[in-house]
């Protein structure tokens, strides 16, 4: 069947806009700061064959894993009917980690299945050992919270109250969870409504054929891009930090004609630490990189993946098996998988690949109980330095690669939680030196005012550094500290859970990005500008950039 090219364009725009609109509905009707302030959620439309067709620009790790999750889920469901909505968070099925709850709705038009719509949102708590459900000391997935297998949260457009009750009884902040789940339901209904409008206006056949064409176009773009890379084998490796030691992630990318063969063989075996990633996460990372090198502004869909063959040995940290804990997989390991893929491609695509970015999301979960025994939790992630690009400095204080959530306003946090902020500033000297400088990280610090609480920090690049490229220096490592009231300083490892007492100060310094090119080749005006802006100190200017007598240079 032929679709008029103009109609194609109109439907394509309609699908992408629907995802955007549903994302706003989800944000505006949500209750937890993580969704309503930080937009830690994503919306998508899939073809009846369960391929991701359209999405809004939300969070790469959510979206790349969504079709894997929906496919696994639907394979396990029987008798799915019009008016049903399915809820699932089991990472081994849904694709990320337990706090991400996925809601899926089949869309029927005149009795015929024409699409699936889905959205994923990160809930601030789903039970488990520690508030925020990302305990650094988890050794199996059961420590990380309630596991929801694929079940119908809605049947015949009626919410199944029993399932909701069961979920809410297992979380620390049930009121908030209920509100967020309802917001997710609203978002799916908006998506459904818009898909039905398009089917009604242009016909369901035209709609579905457009979906096929969208996938084909993305595939074609990807193949065209790959065929411009010199054939060969490109390898990369890097370490993700576990509690007990560093774990290797290895990739070999073979470029053959217009196809990529991506093989993670040689990667460390899975561990009893929450650093394992499920396969959905690894696929999301591959999709992210493919889109970034082939078509950054085009619509993201599964078409790109058709030109790539991914092999990740089962039982490794990039394709874990139950019951391994996985809460850090899609936030931390995902960032490192991207680093490794970029490292490998740096030789294949010179002039395009940046130095390593901060390589973590600096996940912070805090929680406790107030005097009335009512639980509170909040979760946030903190930006850092972006790796320098060929011809361009890395951006300072920003989220990189697999995430793009916003910060929580300090005034919101101070209003609702027993903490008071001391600092939120750029971290000088953290960006790796180079002809092009890596972005600087952030320093965020607060004092705990509750009587007791629990802090989980899931971060990385504490022992290692984001690498530079072509002579660029690495960015600074992360530093996560708790300063007790008596002055004792506790240095936290990459995955830590720790009790907080009143008056404890939490200091989080996020990594900088790696530099690109020889620092001695950096334009003097840029060095002076960095110095004047307080992003690079005099010592680094003298030692690394080789400008000893800065004062003289500063005189007009």
């Amino acid at each position: 069947m032929n679709v008029n090219p103009i109609t194609y364009q109109v439907i394509r725009g309609g699908l992408i806009n629907a995802c955007r609109e549903a994302g706003i509905v989800l944000r505006n009707s949500a209750f937890s700061p993580n969704i309503k302030e930080r937009m830690d959620h994503s919306t998508a439309i899939l073809s009846p064959k369960l391929e991701l067709v359209a999405q809004a620009e939300h969070i790469p790790v959510h979206l790349g894993s969504i079709s894997w999750g929906v496919r696994n889920t639907m394979a396990l469901m029987e008798n799915v009917k019009e008016g049903d909505m399915i809820i699932v968070n089991d990472p081994y099925i849904a694709g990320t980690h337990l706090p991400d709850i996925l809601l899926i709705r089949p869309v029927f038009y005149e009795g015929k299945l024409i699409a699936f719509v889905a959205n994923r949102a990160h809930h601030a708590d789903v039970g488990g050992m520690a508030p925020g459900s990302m305990p650094g000391d988890a050794s199996e997935i059961y420590h990380e919270g309630i596991i929801i297998p694929p079940v119908k949260i809605m049947e015949g457009d009626e919410v199944n109250g029993d399932i909701l009750k069961l979920i809410l009884a297992n979380v620390r902040t049930p009121e908030e969870r209920l509100g967020d789940i309802k917001a997710q339901i609203s978002a799916n209904r908006v998506l459904e409504k818009r898909v039905l409008e398009l089917a009604g206006k242009y016909g369901d056949d035209t709609l579905m054929e457009t979906m096929n064409l969208m996938l084909k176009h993305s595939e074609r773009r990807m193949r065209r891009r790959i065929s411009r890379i010199s054939p060969g084998l490109y390898e990369g490796e890097d370490y993700i930090e576990g509690r007990k030691g560093n774990l290797l992630i290895k990739v070999a990318i073979r470029v053959e004609g217009d196809e990529l063969f991506i093989d993670f063989s040689g990667t460390s075996k899975q561990v009893e630490e929450p650093i394992n990633a499920v396969m959905g996460v690894t696929l999301a990372c591959v999709l992210y990189i493919l889109k970034a090198i082939a078509d950054p502004s085009g619509a993201a869909n599964d078409g790109y993946l058709r030109a790539a063959h991914v092999k990740a040995p089962k039982g490794t940290i990039v394709n874990a098996k139950p019951p391994a804990p996985v809460s850090g997989g899609n936030v931390e390991t995902a960032q490192r998988i991207v680093d490794v893929l970029l490292r490998a491609l740096a030789d294949a695509l010179p002039g395009i690949i940046p130095a390593a970015s901060q390589g973590t999301m600096n996940n912070v979960s805090v929680g406790g109980y107030d005097e009335d025994g009512r639980g509170w939790t909040f979760y946030e992630t903190i930006g850092g330095g972006m790796g320098a690009r060929p011809g361009l400095d890395g951006i300072d204080c920003v989220h990189v690669h697999m995430t793009n959530t916003m910060n929580t306003p300090i005034e919101v946090l101070e209003r609702y939680y027993p903490i008071r902020f001391l600092k939120y500033e750029l971290r000088p000297d953290s960006g790796g030196a180079g002809k092009w400088r890596g972005g600087c990280g952030i320093e965020r610090a607060w004092v705990f005012l509750g009587s007791t609480g629990t802090l989980s920090v899931m971060g990385n690049r504490v022992r290692t550094k984001p690498w530079g490229l072509r002579g660029g220096r690495p960015g600074a490592s992360a530093e996560y500290l708790v300063v007790r009231r008596n002055g004792q300083v506790v240095r936290l490892g990459p995955m830590a859970t720790i009790r907080l007492m009143k008056g404890d100060v939490v200091i989080l310094r996020t990594p900088g990005g790696g530099g690109y090119g020889n620092p001695l080749e950096r334009d003097v005006n840029r060095i002076i500008e960095d110095y004047l802006e307080g992003k690079v100190t005099k010592r680094i200017v003298a030692e690394i950039y080789g400008i000893g007598e800065l004062e003289k240079r500063l005189k007009p």
């Binding site: 090219p5 364009q9 509905v25 505006n28 916003m406 005034e411 902020f421 939120y424 750029l426 992003k535």
Partner: protein, 691 residues
Amino acid sequence: MCALRLGIDVGGTFTDLVLYDERRNKLIIRKISTTPSNPEVAVLSLIDEVLKEYSPNEVKLILHATTLATNALLGQKGLELPKGALITTKGFRDILEIGRQRRPALYDLFVRRPKPLIPRRLRFGVEERVDAKGNVIVPLNEEELRDICHKMRKEGVKAIAICFLNSYVNPVHELKAKEVVEKEVPNAWISLSCEVDPEHGEYERTSTTVVNALLMPLVAGYIRRLEEGLSRRRVRPRLLLMKSSGGAASAENIVKRPIDLIESGPAAGVSATAFLSKVLGIRRAISFDMGGTTAKAGVVIDYRPRMRYELGIGRIHRGEEGEGFECIVRSAVVDLAECSAGGGSIAWVDEDCVLRVGPISAGAEPGPACYGKGGKEPTVTDANLVLGRLPAKLLAGDMTLYPQLARKAIEGRICKIMEIPLIEAAKGVLRIANYEMANIIRLTTTERGLDPREFTLIAYGGAGPLHATDIAEELGINKVIIPRNPGNFSAYGLIVTDVRYDYVKTLLVKLEELDPGRLEREYQELEERALKELSKDVIAEDEIVTVRYAGMRYYGQSYEIVIPVPLTINTTSDIMALSEEFLREYGRMYMQAYQGRAIELVDIRVSAFALSKKVLPKLPSRTSDIKVSRRDVYFIGHGLQEETPIYRRDDLAPGFELEGPAIVEEYGATLVVNPGWNLRVDEYGNIILER
């Protein structure tokens, strides 16, 4: 002696004048090229034009819309922002630069973030702290502040923004800091966050305050030069400026809050729509403005524009990437959606062989290919010309279009690549442009839970009438109005606008805990403030009106819904009524509501208006010869209509009727009447289209 009302709209290309002479019941329209870095030059030459016919003391009122603020923020040459500084709570000076820690594009490895409005070396932290409840935790260190002042003086800072954490709860330190800074840096403009935007959210408040501070010297200087120029001409009118809210304010007030000017120009068009909808009794209207580079849509319900309270200023603007800044400003703004589809928008084929329109525009130079000024790219105007929808002569013959150039551009850049015939390509360009434009109307209606089919489309701007019936069909709208002089409708909006002041107060209280007496008192206090401000700007014949709104949400949410509130609140049942209104609106927007969940009153809002006396002049009915010519025209979705009748609008007197298909041409605009539409001219000369 009767007063003259002058409306002057400074746009990107033209500065428009609309003058209403009440005595003669006459509208006069003038156009002149804008003088971008000194906009007052063009404004004053228009005044000189007026003074050829009238004496200076007849000019009693000038209403003025200007793009000055926006252009400065977008980095226009000649309008450089002054050297500014920011004072924050110590430890938080980078809030402005970190923003919300997001990158502007997700997958682009070469993404850039625009530079912050104030460089880091001019952002200073000072020791002070107020907690979230408003308690002073650390007193303001005035000595440190004086040191900072010393540095600012040395640097020659001209504008200073002060924004401390939690100052929206307790502004004591900001007020104190202002006293010190005023004394220490006497020649700088100072903007306090607690005065400009007293709401929570430190980044947005900081950004708003900084933008305000930086615009102050620029806008003050402009207004001073303008007033001096007027004064030299012995013209001493009441000078009002159009705000983004669609209301006007005195020059004196605008100098204090220049952020209110950012959407000044577009707001004028919506203001005109609001007035026209009131005269015609249309309770639900869509304001649709299509010009050369962009199209804008807004919604007017019960004769008032729908508002929003946050505005992002981006790098992509008017179809071109600027060198300016990216920032957030919180201020009352008419809720507009904008897309880069205008007459000059370029159509192109991407590497997947998909036809696209915009965002790049051919602008005025070289303009569409058919202008014959060297443009090689096909544009929306070229497609309209090829399809016979535009005449070969525009602006009463002052401008000639070249159909063969339009054909060549479309054939070369579209037909060859896509292997489709000329007519199909031209229709494709219009269908895509129409889709984009229909989409911005969806953004302001369906996405807000409103059904566009219940609305009347009021279409204006040079290109609005060309596409109006197509877009109406796309959205299921059955009534379209084309006002008189659609190309000058925005400027006309100026002379029918009202003085307006908006006040907000954050309450953050659960409805169930709210005492009706207290709510009434809070509203009255805001109203008193508003009326006090207004009293400086009104003249005797103005009618004063205040309107109340409330921002409400479920307790725990972050995004409130703004609903209208009755003028007096006495009892708990009045509060119950608020809650019911909220539930209705919430259900409409999110397709579900909660039972028994607490509702929070976030803030109360008062808008105060001084309604001026204004009229819509009637069009004298006359019998004149109606000249009809004919040509073949392609209609979108209706195919080729041979020998379509072509009318001249000037011939059409009140009461005239016709059935589509037809084309109606006038100075500066061409109307396409699709088959199936009935046209009539009302007593004011508006064209009413219905199907």
